[in-house]
């Protein structure tokens, strides 16, 4: 018997592994198969649209071109914007650094709808910058970036900044600064030393951060839908429009297949990149690599970097909150009050505030479903070794590699008719959210469970505890904590999920992101302010969930 792991028998693993597998089969594999079937079958609406015709259509080529182009631009911009931040976090010690580093992660965990709202507030026609300009006597609005590429790029940089900061900054702070100093002493200028020594050593981290940013922006949906114009469509947006506006399911299926194929190739490429770029090097603790901000030069560098960081990361959120209180000429709670009034504009059915109740309910159901299934899978993965464990792990990650829009689209084409008609089931949304959340739950809990010291089990056994008592005393508390952490992730994911929900939410049961989307689609300053108010509420809810996760998680290792 393996002394390091408590025996989880093959039969136990099967029993625990079966429910998550079945869930995946039913709600992931089946919808994906339906998309493939629909995409390949072609003609259903009297149009001879074979899959290749769709792929080679001028419109598709244009969409693909734009998708790649904006993703590439976003990636370059994000890396360039975040490198100075990564540098000062890696090389300087200053007060409030930990807090600041935690704060930079906030945009990344915000729902994309909130990100889009914030940039609409900052750069849209109702921007306070325009109010300010008018006050100063400008003839017309000075910023009107919405609808253009710039707003999209800025929003992407905003919420993916933390990816580069964390990944590159982490490696950078572990690089021995003396390696660069050695180059300087040997006659290299500052720039040459950076280019020839530091940059090559950072390259793997930059490449992998860039790959992640590219993947995120390639599948960007909410930001583009809300900030872009009809001319700016990524594949994700195009799938949605083809489905919801044109009702052309076969073409949408062909596009979804194109999307799946692209994402899959990107992931494979990323894997290859990772293998090729690894440079063996001794990593050192970060402690002795930082220096204080003592002289004028470093004060300037650190100050300018932190200033621009604040401008990029904090300003949009501050403006978002400010706009939620703006009503008419002054500030007040009008928008928040309007959220409670029935006969509001949400499809004329429900007061917007009901969306909050819906989101909380769906969130709760997702927590139950995702932690239950996720923990079952995590237990198998953590306790067993070999192909069954690795295989389950890989299978569970698949939905993460599939875009949210594809998942939602799959639900529409697969689950709306017998044998599996869930169209009216209140469980449909929690099921979709569970699919998205489960990989997070598993990633967060497996390391926790694996971190249990085998010594503890041995100590308990030596002290006379039976295997059952040992499990209860040693593994039980850790798994309970893992369940809390996993549940927190599931809740946060469910709160913010937009792409899939947009396809499957019923008009009379919107979630908060859907409500925001609809409010933004309607004219009038009160609707806009209400959207901002809802976004503010969603931001606070998400922040609360993330804070709780951090608390529960403590210092335990995770995959994030």
């Amino acid at each position: 018997m393996d002394a390091n792991r408590p025996a989880l028998s093959g039969r136990g693993a099967l029993l625990l592994g079966a429910p998550p597998l079945l869930f995946l089969l039913l709600f992931f594999a089946y919808p994906v198969a339906s998309i493939v079937g629909l995409g390949l079958s072609g003609d259903t609406v009297g149009r001879a649209a074979g899959i290749l015709d769709t792929w080679l259509d001028a419109r598709t080529v244009e969409v693909l071109r734009f998708t790649l182009w904006q993703a590439a631009l976003s990636t370059v911009l994000t890396v360039v914007a975040a490198l100075p931040g990564a540098y000062i976090f890696a090389r300087y010690g200053f007060r409030g650094k930990r807090l600041l580093r935690a704060a930079t992660t906030v945009p990344f965990v915000l729902p994309t709808v909130v990100v889009a709202s914030a940039f609409l507030a900052l750069l849209g026609p109702r921007s306070p910058l325009n109010d300010l300009a008018a006050l100063l006597g400008a003839p017309g609005p000075v910023v009107r970036l919405e609808g253009g590429l710039w707003a999209i790029l800025l929003a992407h940089v905003f919420y993916l900044y933390a990816v580069v900061l964390r990944l590159v900054g982490g490696v950078w702070s572990n690089l021995d600064p003396r390696t660069e100093e050695a180059a300087r002493v040997l006659g290299a200028t500052r720039w040459t030393a950076f280019r020839q020594v530091t940059l090559p050593l950072l390259w793997p981290a930059i490449a992998s951060a860039a790959a992640i940013v590219f993947l995120f922006t390639f599948t960007s949906f909410g930001v583009i839908l809300l900030l872009g114009s009809p001319g700016t469509a990524t594949l994700e947006v195009e799938i949605y429009r083809t489905t919801a506006l044109l009702l052309d399911l076969p073409v949408a299926a062909a596009l979804a297949l194109l999307q799946m194929a692209s994402v899959l190739s990107l992931l494979l490429l990323y894997g290859r990149l990772q293998d090729r770029l690894t440079i063996e090097q001794r990593l050192r603790p970060a402690a002795d690599a930082t220096r204080p901000v003592a002289d004028r030069g470093s004060r300037l560098v650190v100050g300018a970097t932190l200033g621009s960081m604040g401008l990029l990361l904090a300003l949009p959120l501050l403006v978002l909150v400010e706009r939620s209180f703006a009503s008419g000429d002054g500030h007040g709670l009008a928008a928040y009050r309007a959220l409670f009034q029935a006969g509001g504009r949400l499809g004329a059915f429900v007061p917007p505030v009901e969306a909050i109740g819906n989101s909380l309910l769906f969130g709760g159901l997702t927590v139950i479903l995702a932690s239950l299934l996720g923990l079952m899978a995590a237990t198998v993965i953590a306790y067993r070794r070999g192909w069954s464990s690795r295989g389950l792990d890989a299978l569970l990650m698949l939905p993460l590699g599939t875009s949210a829009v594809t998942l939602g689209f799959g639900f529409i084409v697969a689950l709306d008719e017998p044998p599996l008609d869930l169209r009216t089931s209140p469980l449909l949304i929690p099921i979709a959210h569970t699919l998205v959340a489960m990989p997070f739950v598993v990633r967060a809990t497996v390391p926790l469970i694996r971190s249990i010291q085998p010594r503890l089990r041995e100590a308990a056994a030596v002290l006379g505890a039976s295997p059952r008592r040992t499990w209860l005393a040693v593994d039980g508390p850790v798994i309970a904590r893992a369940a809390l952490v996993g549940g927190g992730f599931a809740f946060a994911v469910s709160l913010g999920e937009f792409g899939a929900t947009l396809f499957i939410a019923r008009p009379d049961v919107p979630t908060v992101p859907i409500a925001i989307f609809r409010l933004l689609g309607q004219p009038g300053s009160l609707n806009f302010a209400q959207a901002m108010a809802m976004s503010t509420i969603l931001m606070l809810l998400t922040a609360a969930a993330v804070l709780l996760i951090e608390r529960w998680r403590g210092d335990a290792p995770t995959a994030f």
Binding site: D176, A182, A183, V185, L186, P292
Partner: protein, 346 residues
């Protein structure tokens, strides 16, 4: 050729270097010795230009280097733990400085081969530096530092992370290599034997200040302060009162040179000063014994009063066992008097 004048360096609130004065002549090998945290590495960083002093100057051949950036100083620095470029092989590590000088391909290849030969690594040019042993990495670091023929070579704890066998063999090799390239050199270490063993001159640092600057044999013969004496390894240090050539110590009365004036002073008994002699002035009980091959080191509890234990080093046959009583005589040349005022900083 190198002059350091009144250099002060602060790191936040803490003074790292205080009023450092230092001189290294052409071709001279100066060792800088001090406990960890005494500012040795910081001194090298200031000389290299990696840290700017808050006050004071660094000069080369009389020229102030304040405005000369790191990469134009033509100094070589071998870092503690070597700081090799992990993404380059041995050859490229060694060639880096020559490339920065813009050496042409022919000269570059010749010089790298020459230097690798000098440090005995000719066969490993194409090896990844991460696949080398500690001793090999150390030699790559040395080769990298000397390849561009620096006018001053600085070595920061070059033997720091190596095992004992290397530590004993390498100082001599290092000295030969430094001689061979004809550069001035500064060698930083916390190890007394290493520092005194190879130096033309030794500087001792304590809390960022120079507390001794002399040739190793002079330093050994007359440590300037009690702290330096203790740092060099002398443990038999005590207060004594001198009256007409006789010093009263807790261990007994000791003869001192007649020139020593009467009064209170600090006195050191070298561990090698003791000779077994039934008529000797010191009697004690062996409390511990450390066999060192060619000699033996004893700890001796002296019978008179509350004297601290004595450390005694000598050849004995047969070896005295713990619990045995010994009577010893002190050779006059083993008695060392510390100058007045030397006790102010215990």
């Amino acid at each position: 050729m190198l002059t350091v004048e009144g250099v002060n360096l602060r790191y936040g609130e803490q003074a790292v270097l205080a009023d450092i004065d230092m001189f290294v002549a052409e071709g001279e090998l100066v060792t800088v010795l001090g406990p960890s945290g005494s500012g040795k590495s910081s001194l090298l960083r200031v000389i290299a230009g990696l840290a700017l002093p808050d006050r004071g100057r660094v000069l080369w051949a009389g020229r102030d280097l304040a405005r000369v950036p790191v990469h134009e100083r033509h100094f070589g620095l071998m870092f503690q733990d070597f700081a090799l470029f992990p993404h380059r092989d041995v050859y490229e590590n060694v060639a880096f400085g020559l490339r920065m000088q813009g050496a042409d391909a022919e000269r570059l290849a010749a010089r790298v081969a020459e230097v690798l030969d000098l440090v005995g690594l000719s066969g490993l040019a194409k090896r990844a530096v991460t696949r080398l042993s500690g001793g090999e990495q150390q030699r790559v670091a040395l080769a990298r530092a000397i390849a561009p023929s620096p006018r001053l070579l600085m070595l920061d704890e070059p033997l720091g992370s190596l095992d004992r066998a290397f530590r004993e063999r390498l100082p001599l090799q290092l000295r030969e290599i430094v001689r061979a390239i004809g550069a001035s050199a500064i060698y930083v270490t916390h190890d007394q034997e290493e520092a005194l063993g190879i130096a033309d001159r030794t500087l001792i640092l304590r809390e960022g200040r120079v507390v001794a600057d002399a040739a190793p044999d002079h330093l050994w013969a007359q440590p300037p302060t009690e702290w330096v004496a203790r740092f060099l390894g002398f443990r038999n240090v005590t207060a004594a009162s001198v009256r007409s050539g006789q010093a009263a110590t807790p261990w007994g009365t000791v003869t001192v040179p007649a020139a020593v004036p009467d009064g209170e002073c600090r006195l050191v008994l070298r561990p090698t000063a003791f000779v077994p002699d039934a008529a000797g002035e010191i009697r004690g009980l062996v409390t511990a014994r450390l066999f060192r091959g060619d000699h033996v080191r004893l700890q001796l509890a002296v019978e008179s009063g509350h004297a601290p234990p004595l450390e005694v080093e000598a050849r004995w046959d047969p070896l005295p066992a713990p619990g045995e009583r010994l009577t010893l005589r002190i050779e006059p040349e083993g008695v060392l008097l510390l100058p007045a005022g030397a006790t102010l900083r215990p």
